[in-house]
Subunit: 417 residues, 2 copies
C-alpha cells in the first residue's frame, strides 16, 4: 500500500458534534502515517476542494485537534453547495478528481447529510472511470436525523437533549407563573420535513408537563388543535406547545408563512412559534410566551449528549479504519444492539443505498391524536440523549478551539464556481 493523502470536508448545516467526527478522522489518520500521509481539510467544505483551498491539518496541534471533540460548529468551515448531477456538471466532478490527483489524495471523507452522501457516491464512481480511483467514505451528520440505514445520525442526539431539557425548564417556569400570568409556552424547533427534533420536546410528558407537539408529518388542523390546547389549559392551568418549523397546513403552506406584512407592506418573515401563539391568544385569550431556539439548538455543545459525542467520534474513526481496510463508497453507521441498557456498534451501508433516501419518522412513533409520541418512540429517543459530555470551561466560558487553518500551496489554475 502506497502512502496517499486524505481529504476531509464538512457539509451542510453544522452541529454541536460534527467536529468530534473531524477529530475521529484526523486522530485516526495520524496513527497510520505509513498509509495516510496528510489529512487536508476543505476550507468551507467541498468548495475548498473545487477552489483548491485546502487546509493542512498536520499544522494543527494534537491538543487543538483533540479540542475539536468539545467544540461546536464546523472547525474547517462548511457550505451549502450541492454538486449537480454528473450529466449536468461533469466539470465540477472532474475538477474534484484533478485537485485530488494534484495533491496525491486517495481518500475522501465527506461529513454530511443526504446531499453529501450522494456527492460522495458519485465521486467514487467517477474517479474509477477517470482512472484515478479515490476511496470515498461518507461520515453521517445531520440534526434532522433523516439518513437511512443508520439507527441515528450524529448531531441529532445533542439537539434532542437540548430541546427536551429546554422545553422542560421553560415548562417549569410557565407552570409556576400560570395562576396569574402566562399559560401558553410555544417553542419552535428545527428538523425540516422530519419531526424527530419535535418528538424530543414531547419527552417532557414524562415529567408531568401538559404538552402538545406539532409535527411536520401531521397536517395542521386549527380547530382540533385549539380544542386540544383549551382542554390542556382547563385541566392543568397551562400548556406547552412544541412546534416543528416544518409544520404545515393541509395545502402544504408552512405555518410560518402567514402572509404577514409589515407597515411598509413588505412580507414579514416570522417563525411558526409566534403564529401559533397569536392564534391561541386570539381564539382562547390565554397569555403566551414563545421562543425560537434556531441555531442555539444545533450549536449547544454545552449540553451535548455523551452518546452523541461518542458516536460522532467513533464514526469518524471508523471511516478511516474502513478506508484502510480497502472499503469504498460506504458510510459507517450506528447499529443499535439494545435500547435498555443502550448498546450500539458500528456497521456500514453502501452509499448506493444511502444517497437520496430520506428517513421519515415512523407513523407508529406518533400518538393517535397526532400531538404526542408513543412508548416506541420514547424507547428510541432516550438512549440518544444519555450522558452529559460537558466541555471544559475557562473564566466562566467554554473553551472552544479555533483552527489555525493554514492553506496548502496551490498547484492548479483557478477554477470558477
Amino acid at each position: 500500500m502506497t502512502t496517499k493523502n486524505a481529504f476531509y470536508a464538512q457539509s451542510g448545516g453544522v452541529t454541536s458534534v460534527i467536529n468530534a467526527s473531524a477529530a475521529g478522522v484526523i486522530e485516526t489518520a495520524r496513527q497510520h502515517k505509513d498509509k495516510i500521509g496528510k489529512v487536508f481539510a476543505g476550507r468551507n467544505g467541498i468548495i475548498g476542494a473545487l477552489t483548491e483551498d485546502l487546509i493542512d491539518t498536520d499544522l494543527e496541534s494534537a491538543e487543538d485537534i483533540a479540542a475539536l471533540k468539545n467544540t461546536p460548529s464546523g472547525g474547517f468551515g462548511s457550505c451549502r453547495f450541492k454538486l449537480k448531477s454528473l450529466e449536468d456538471n461533469k466539470r465540477e466532478y472532474e475538477r474534484l478528481i484533478e485537485v485530488f490527483k494534484a495533491h496525491n489524495i486517495g481518500y475522501f471523507f465527506y461529513n454530511g447529510g443526504g446531499d453529501s452522501a450522494d456527492t460522495c457516491f458519485k465521486v467514487s464512481q467517477l474517479s474509477e472511470k477517470m482512472g484515478y480511483p479515490v476511496q470515498a467514505i461518507h461520515v453521517p451528520k445531520t440534526v434532522d436525523n433523516d439518513l437511512p440505514i443508520t439507527d441515528n445520525c450524529p448531531g441529532f442526539g445533542s439537539v434532542a437533549k437540548y430541546i427536551a431539557v429546554s422545553t422542560l425548564e421553560a415548562s417549569f417556569d410557565v407552570r409556576s407563573m400560570a395562576a396569574t400570568s402566562t399559560k401558553i409556552f410555544v417553542i419552535e424547533v428545527m428538523g425540516r420535513h422530519a419531526g424527530w427534533i419535535a418528538a424530543a420536546g414531547a419527552l417532557v410528558e414524562d415529567h408531568n408537563i401538559p404538552v402538545l407537539t406539532l409535527f411536520p408529518e401531521v397536517e395542521f388542523d386549527k380547530d382540533k388543535f385549539l380544542a386540544a390546547v383549551d382542554a390542556k389549559v382547563k385541566e392543568h392551568d397551562f400548556c406547552t406547545i412544541v412546534v416543528s418549523e416544518g409544520c404545515h397546513w393541509p395545502d402544504g403552506t408552512f405555518l410560518a408563512e402567514q402572509g404577514t406584512r409589515d407597515s411598509f407592506g413588505h412580507a414579514q418573515l416570522g417563525g411558526a412559534a409566534p403564529v401559533v401563539a397569536n392564534m391561541i391568544k386570539e381564539a382562547l385569550g390565554y397569555k403566551f410566551h414563545w421562543a425560537v431556539a434556531d441555531y442555539l439548538q444545533r450549536a449547544a455543545r454545552h449540553l451535548a449528549s455523551e452518546s452523541d459525542v461518542e458516536q460522532a467520534y467513533a464514526l469518524g474513526k471508523a471511516a478511516v479504519e474502513k478506508a484502510l481496510e480497502g472499503k469504498n463508497s460506504i458510510m459507517p453507521t450506528v447499529v443499535r444492539e439494545s435500547s435498555s441498557p443502550y448498546k450500539w456498534s458500528i456497521g456500514e451501508a453502501p452509499l448506493s443505498e444511502v444517497a437520496n433516501v430520506e428517513k421519515m419518522m415512523p407513523m407508529d412513533f406518533i400518538s393517535d391524536d397526532g400531538y404526542g409520541i408513543t412508548d416506541k418512540c420514547k424507547e428510541y429517543l432516550y438512549p440518544l440523549i444519555q450522558g452529559e459530555a460537558y466541555p471544559p470551561y475557562e473564566n466562566g466560558m467554554p473553551k472552544y478551539v479555533t483552527m489555525k487553518g493554514i492553506s496548502v500551496e496551490q498547484k492548479l489554475e483557478k477554477f470558477e464556481l
Copy 2:
C-alpha cells in the same frame, strides 16, 4: 424569644436560582426550630397569603428541599401581583396581617424584585401600626439585575452565562457557514429597560466574534446601525447581533412594535430579533437567522452560574439569620470585595432605600459607539458567570423536583382579590 412561624413567597418572573434562595430560607429556618416553628409558603406568591392558601413546607422532605437548589422556576408558584399603595388598598395589607396573625406568622421573607421590596417595606410598617409586628425581610431576585445597593441580583448571573455561552455557540455556527450561507445572526434577550443581559452577550467579543449589541439605554439609530453591520460583515464575513427586548427608537417605540399586521389585518406580535434581521436583509441583502430565547434563558438551570447559585442560597440563608438577629425591613445584599480573584460577602440594605429604585447600567459600561461593552463592564460581568453548577441527571434529563405542596388548614373567611 417566642416561637413564631415564617411566611415565604416568590414574586414576579421566576429564575433558574430563585428556588436556591427558597432552599436557603427553609433549610436555615429548620435549623432554628426553637425560634421559627414552621415555614409556610404562599401558593403562587403573595396571592397565597391574601387567599390564605399556604403550603406547609414542613411536609416536604429534606431531600426535596435540598433539590430545590438544582431546580429552576418557582417551586411554590409565583405571581405578578403588585399590591397598590397603602392609601389605595389598605384592605389588602390588612388582610395580609390578618392571615399572618391567624397562623402565628412573625417572619415575612419575600423573594423578588423592586415591586416586592416595596410591598415588603409596607408590610413591616403597617404591621407595626396594627400592633402585630412582623419582621419583613426581602430576598433579592431578578434576572434584570436592576435592584439598587446589592452588587448584583440572584438570577442574573445564570442568565448572563446562558446568553454569553449561547451567543458564542451560535456565532461559531454562523462563522463556519458564512462563506456561502448565513452571515447575520440575531439573538434577542430579556432585561426590560436595563441592558445587563444584553451586555453579557457582548462578552463574545473576547472570543473573536464580531458582535454588535443593541441596548435599551441607547436610542436606536437605523442608519448608523446598518453601517456598523455592513462594516463588520465586510471585515469578518459575518456579524452577530444581540438585541435587548427593550431596545427602542428615539420616540420610545420598541423595535418589536413595527405595526406589523397579519393577513387578517390583526396586529402581529413579533420579537425585536426578526425586525432587526429583516431590516438588515432589506438594506444589505445578507442572509440571516434569528433566535428568541425568551423563557429558555431565565429557566436554564442546566447552565447556571455557580457563583449565582451560591449567592441565591446565601441570601436566603442570610435573610433568616438576620431575622433571628432581630433585623426588620431590610434586604441582604451581595457586597463585592474584589473582582479578581472574585470575593464577595453578605451585606444589608434598608428597604426604604431599595423600594422603588431601579439600577440602570452605568453609561461607562457601554462603549463609545454604543454597540459594545467597556473593560469596566467586563470586569463586573465575568465574576458573575464563574463556575458551572450542573444539576444531577437521570435517564438523560435533569432531576428537577416538584413540591408536594400540601395546604395548611384555612382559619379565616374567604377573601376576594
